[in-house]
Structure formats: C-alpha cells, structure tokens
C-alpha cells in the first residue's frame, strides 16, 4: 500500500469540497488511475475540466507510477495574472 496526498485547487476543490485528501492506494497505482478516481469522486462536476498533473510540485506530462509519500495535484486551467 502507498499513501498519497492529493492537493485540491480551484474547480477540483470546489467539486470535492476540500483542500486535501489522503489516499491509501495499492502498489503500482499510476497518476492516470488516481485521476480517474478523483473524477469519479467528483460525480461529473469535473467532466468538462481539463486537468494537468503535478507530482511533488512539478508538472509531469507522462503517466507515471506513484510512490509512497507523493504529493499529487490535478491542476485545472490556471488563471494567474
């Protein structure tokens, strides 16, 4: 089992109603698996939202395997400026 900290921002936060969720996941869980889980939890509220993935505060563009202690965020379109 691995423990993953999910950080929630903007529409993800709004959809899930929380800043942060701790997941206990099976070994060999990949970022895409977690994204699917998160989208399911949002009950359709994220269906039209494009999400980028950050692992440990760095954008990643591939589907990678998560390791115990990782911090993950699915990043909705940013709006700085």
């Amino acid at each position: 089992m691995i423990k993953i900290r999910l950080k929630c921002f903007s529409q993800v936060k709004y959809a899930l109603g929380t800043n942060e969720i701790i997941f206990e996941l099976e070994d060999e869980t990949f970022t895409d698996d977690l994204e699917k889980l998160v989208r399911k939890k949002a009950e359709g509220k994220l269906d039209n939202v494009t999400l980028s993935t950050a692992v440990n505060k760095k954008y990643i563009s591939k589907n990678i395997e998560l390791v115990d202690g990782d911090e993950v965020a699915f990043i909705p379109p940013v709006q700085g400026g």
């Binding site: 903007s10 709004y14 950050a54 505060k57 760095k58 990043i75 709006q79 400026g81």
Partner: protein
C-alpha cells in the same frame, strides 16, 4: 537579476531607477482586477495559489524569458488572497538595453504565466458568494 515574489497584501512597485546607466529601457506592466468577470459584476477576486509550486514556476518562466530575449532584469510580484476591484494583482518590471527585447520578453512572460503558474481566481460576487472564476455556477 531575477526576482519573483508572491505577496499577500498590496503590491509595492519595484524601484524605477537605473543605477547601472546601461539599461536604457524599462517596461512595467500592472494587471488590475476589473469590475466584471465573465459578464458578472464582482466585489473582488480571491487568488489561490499552489504554495511553493507557483513561485517556482514563476521563477522558471522568468529564467526562460531572460535566456530567450537577453534582458537584464525581470522583477515580478503576484498577489494572492483577496484583491479588490481596481487593485493590482500582477506587477512586472523588465529592464533591457533596448525596448524591443523588453516588449517581447514581457509578452512571453505573461503568456507563459497565464498558461503554467498554478494560481486561480475565485470571484466574490456582490451578494458575497464565492465561486471559481471560470466555473459556471448553477
């Protein structure tokens, strides 16, 4: 020189003085909160950030701008938290020898910032309700 800061209260502009006498062009951008978001009247915006990552991304982009356009300095302050209509949320100051590279760097920096820096806006409506800015509220 590169300096990026995420600040929680009113932005103080950077000092506008050329101490080195060789940076002929200073370009300053101030982005302010407008009174409407997607057609809705708002009282203020609340900027949310992904702490540490937002500042890190800003710094990466500033570095890219400096390498790409050979500007001398890029200084940036981005505000988070509540920002009232009319107040500055983004302040960027770029120093270069000539104006051309400064203008190109400014354009590049803001475009990339708006693509990549994990900062989001929440609209505080006139009735006090708070919603993610892009989100269509049922």
């Amino acid at each position: 020189m590169i300096k990026v800061e995420i600040v929680g209260s009113s932005i103080t502009p950077f000092d506008s003085n050329d101490n080195q006498k060789e940076k002929g062009a200073e370009l300053i951008f101030n982005g302010r909160v407008r009174g409407t978001e997607h057609g809705k009247k708002i009282k203020m915006l609340e900027y949310e950030q992904y702490e540490e990552m937002a500042e890190k991304e800003l710094r990466i982009i500033a570095q890219e701008a400096q390498n790409k356009f050979s500007i001398k300095d890029l200084l940036c302050r981005h505000r988070i938290g509540e920002v009232k209509v009319g107040e500055t949320s983004l302040h960027v100051s770029i120093w270069s020898k000539h104006r051309k590279e400064g203008l190109e760097a400014m354009s590049f920096f803001i475009i990339e910032l708006k693509k990549r820096v994990p900062i989001w806006k929440w609209a505080i409506l006139e009735n006090g309700e708070k919603i993610p800015s892009e989100c269509k509220h049922e």
